[in-house]
């Protein structure tokens, strides 16, 4: 079944390559079609005001702001994991911003381009504070709850083998809720999943403060927005929206001070905000493209803090997602 689907997706990507100029289509349509998840805490979920919110959602808003100067000109399509790629190849959406891991096969054979890594995720461990563990290296002999059929299951045994540790028992469950219930009821000492998921799961536990996520990350799950092959202008646009968000944070340009920063004498800020040079025209927009983005959504740090950061219920530290200048690996290419 998977193979057939992939073959179908492959066929479609051939057909999809014909209709280029996504930006023109978006402009005539008057909105960006953005694929998001059907609900993932902190990344895309409907809020109390009946609007989509989250990291992935805000990125699409940033694209809309860059093009239309209006972050509401986005149409969100909630997609399941199965049909997200079909939706992108068939042209139903312009950009897929749906916590999708950047892998080689997706980037190449499926016919997509990843525009960047909006969130560096990875597998982590959730344990009870009362156990007194400080590091994943101390997990020797622990029983571990994991969702079956996920890469998490394979990663955890790899991790133990690589560190010459004996894992007591890996207990796999069919669904996420089942796995969480088993962990909560004490069937196992450790619950393992991607870190963003661990943070979301922790909220559902009684006395969330009694549980802690261990510092180690044992797998690479770079999540990012992707576009179809065959339209380099659109690919550039999405990519540079991402870089603009990062550069803005690095240069201290925020949603609040962006109006003042337009008058800044810092050459980097001037180039980013379009007061020096017309770099925005290179992606089919006007020179002040980045100003529109920052005004609408804020810089990367603001988006992060608003949706998943330490002040939100999820409370995920920046970690790898911090700027390269602050110990993370988020690195915006220079606007020059």
């Amino acid at each position: 079944m998977k193979r057939i689907l992939f073959a179908a997706v492959g066929l479609l990507s051939l057909a999809g390559a014909v209709n280029a100029a996504t930006l023109d289509e978006v402009k005539t349509r008057g909105s960006v079609n953005c694929g998001v998840s059907q609900g993932l805490p902190g990344f895309s979920s409907p809020n109390d005001k009946n609007e989509w919110g989250g990291l992935d959602v805000d990125f699409c808003r940033a694209i809309a702001a860059a093009i239309f100067n209006d972050p509401t000109k986005v149409k969100f399509s909630p997609l399941s994991a199965k049909d997200r790629f079909t939706a992108l190849t068939s042209g139903a959406i312009d950009v897929l911003s749906r916590n999708t891991t950047w892998t080689m096969s997706r980037d190449t054979t499926l016919g997509f381009n990843f525009a960047g890594v909006i969130y560096y995720d990875g597998q982590g461990f959730l344990v009870r504070k009362s156990v007194g563990l400080k590091s994943a290296k101390e997990l020797q002999g622990a029983s571990i709850c994991v969702q079956t059929g996920t890469s998490n299951e394979l990663n955890v045994s790899d991790f133990f083998r690589a560190n010459n540790m004996k894992n007591g028992e890996v207990i796999a469950f069919g669904t996420l809720d089942e796995t969480v219930k088993a962990y909560e009821s004490g069937r196992c000492d450790v619950f393992t999943a991607d870190r963003s998921q661990l943070a979301a799961v922790r909220l559902k536990l009684t006395n969330a403060a009694d549980h802690v996520i261990l510092p180690e990350t044992i797998s690479k799950e770079p999540l990012g927005p992707l576009v179809r092959h065959g339209d380099d202008q659109w690919f550039d646009l999405v990519k540079w929206v991402y870089f603009a968000l990062l550069n803005a944070e690095e240069l201290g340009v925020t949603q609040k001070n962006v109006e003042e920063q337009v008058n800044s004498q810092n050459p980097d800020v001037k180039r980013l905000l379009g007061t020096d040079g017309k770099y925005g025209e290179g992606i089919g927009l006007t020179a002040d493209w980045a100003v529109r983005i920052i005004k609408a959504t804020g810089n990367y740090g603001e988006i992060y803090d608003r949706n998943v950061g330490p002040a939100t219920p999820l409370g995920i530290e920046r970690g790898l997602n911090n700027l390269w200048t602050k110990g993370g690996i988020q690195y915006g290419m220079p606007v020059r």
Binding site: Q38, P41, P46, N47, P78, S80, A200, N207, P313
Partner: protein
């Protein structure tokens, strides 16, 4: 029985047989309570040892389920709050049951989905109109059933469609293809041009199909039948044209794409469409399956067996992801429409078999009697067979309706958020994640589904009772 003769025949009883009294026993006084709660309890709860055990088991069952539920949903429940903090035991300082503020906060989402807030009155009008038209239709004593039915089944869907979507279909082609000649009348690519193109196509298609119907019936059934066939086809097309024309009227309402619909709205749209389409189509299919015309019979059987043989999930998945691969070019069919068609076809096939069960229960004498008084077959079905057959299968029909209502949740797999889908999406809001959010949400969704399904069930039982009057003695 033969008590009175017992004294006369008594001697013939052999000693090995039972004792038979030779005199009348004295009458015992009437029981203390022949009615009332004490007798009822004695008879129904503690009448015998198995009964006592069952009663104890029942009490135990109620004891272990009901108090915890009441405790969770009412006593320990949190009723007000603005975010998850209100439902966290460590913040509230006591055990926390249902987190009702979560449901209040998400109520709009559950009823309207992402339907724009400024346009929600349209959904409310559709809900209200539906209730106003449906209720008198269900109450037998009220007059004007024919007008009511025409309004509910004919006018209401069109009005609801225009209100919910905003009308203005933007159709370009009908059966044949778009007419580039229409560009002469209005600008190419404009809405007006597309509309002209559509209606030219419609008129040409109508003429063509009518001509084909005329010719075919002339060849198959002879020259006398041909004008009638042509007339039927033509009037069907005229009716269709009127409906499309009414739907296409631009009443000035902003368009609301079905992508934005959700929650209870989607559940009701799918369920009501499925229910109202499946009954007439099911009856037609059931009649077709029993037809003596081999082609009609074969087509009906193939249709029914195909749709009964594939799972609904497969149908929905296929319609959503595979169909676009086969359709030419940029032609896309609305996602909700695809799901609606899939559900309607599926439900029709099931309904057909239920109705066929009723048809088979009608004795042959009924048909023969109808024929003997000279009823043509259409009248025989309408006046004699169907009223009896349908009455017999009311429980089955309502069973299908209830099943269909609950099956609507499957549209979630094709990215349409029905009531349950909206609820699941609401669970992922980190501002409301708490240990009890999940249970509260599912509990609330369960209550809503129960209200609808229980309502249908009770109405069907009342209907059965009413129609059964002739058979009670």
């Amino acid at each position: 029985m033969s008590d009175t003769t017992a004294p006369l025949t008594a001697p013939r009883v052999s000693p090995a047989q039972a004792y038979v009294s030779t005199t009348l026993r004295e009458q015992e006084p009437a029981p203390v309570a022949t009615r009332g709660p004490v007798l009822w309890v004695r008879r129904h709860l503690v009448g015998s040892v198995p009964q006592v055990l069952l009663t104890l088991f029942g009490i135990w069952l109620v004891y272990v389920t009901v108090p915890p539920l009441i405790k969770f949903f009412l006593i320990d429940a949190v009723w007000t709050g603005t975010n998850r903090e209100a439902c966290l035991p460590e913040k509230v300082g006591r055990e926390v049951g249902a987190c009702w503020p979560f449901v209040w906060a998400k109520l709009d989402q559950l009823i309207y989905g992402f339907y724009p807030a400024s346009e929600r009155w349209r959904v409310n009008v559709v809900y209200a109109l539906g209730a106003i038209l449906l209720l008198p239709l269900l109450i037998q004593q009220l007059p004007g059933k024919r007008l009511n039915a025409i309004l509910f089944f004919g006018v209401y869907p069109v009005v609801a469609f225009v209100l919910l979507t905003g009308g203005n279909l933007e159709m370009q082609r009908f059966l044949i293809g778009s007419f580039s000649g229409s560009d002469l009348f209005a600008g190419a690519g404009t809405v007006q041009g597309m509309r002209v193109s559509f209606w030219i196509d419609f008129v040409v298609s109508t003429a063509l199909v009518t001509a084909i119907a005329y010719l075919v019936s002339r060849i198959v059934a002879g020259p006398e039948a041909a004008p009638a066939a042509a007339k039927t086809t033509l009037s069907a097309f005229v009716l269709l044209g009127l409906v499309i024309f009414a739907m296409d009227i631009d009443v000035g309402l902003p368009q609301v794409e079905t992508r934005l619909w959700g929650g209870l709205l989607v559940t009701l749209v799918i369920a009501v469409t499925g229910i109202t389409v499946s009954l007439p189509f099911g009856i037609l299919l059931a009649l077709g399956r029993r037809s003596k015309l081999p082609l009609v019979k074969a087509l009906s059987i193939i249709f029914i067996e195909f749709w009964r043989g594939v799972p609904l999930i497969t149908v929905l998945f296929f319609a959503t992801y595979m169909l676009p691969l086969f359709l030419p070019g940029r032609l896309t069919i609305d996602g909700l429409l695809r799901a609606l068609v899939g559900v309607a076809l599926f439900a029709s096939a099931y309904m057909a078999e239920v109705v066929r069960g009723g048809l088979q229960a009608i004795p042959k004498g009924q048909y023969e009697g109808a024929m003997a008084v000279g009823l043509p077959s259409s009248l025989m079905l309408r006046l004699v067979v169907l009223p009896q057959a349908l009455k017999l299968v009311i429980p089955g029909i309502v069973n299908n309706f209830i099943g269909l209502f609950k099956d609507t949740t499957l549209v979630l797999i094709v990215s349409i958020f029905d009531l349950l889908g909206s609820m699941r999406a609401a669970f992922t809001d980190p501002n409301w994640a708490s240990p009890t959010t999940l249970f509260t949400g599912f509990g609330f969704a369960g209550i809503i589904y129960f209200v609808f399904c229980f309502g249908m069930s009770r109405y069907s039982m009342a209907l059965e009772k009413r129609l059964d009057r002739a058979q009670r003695h």
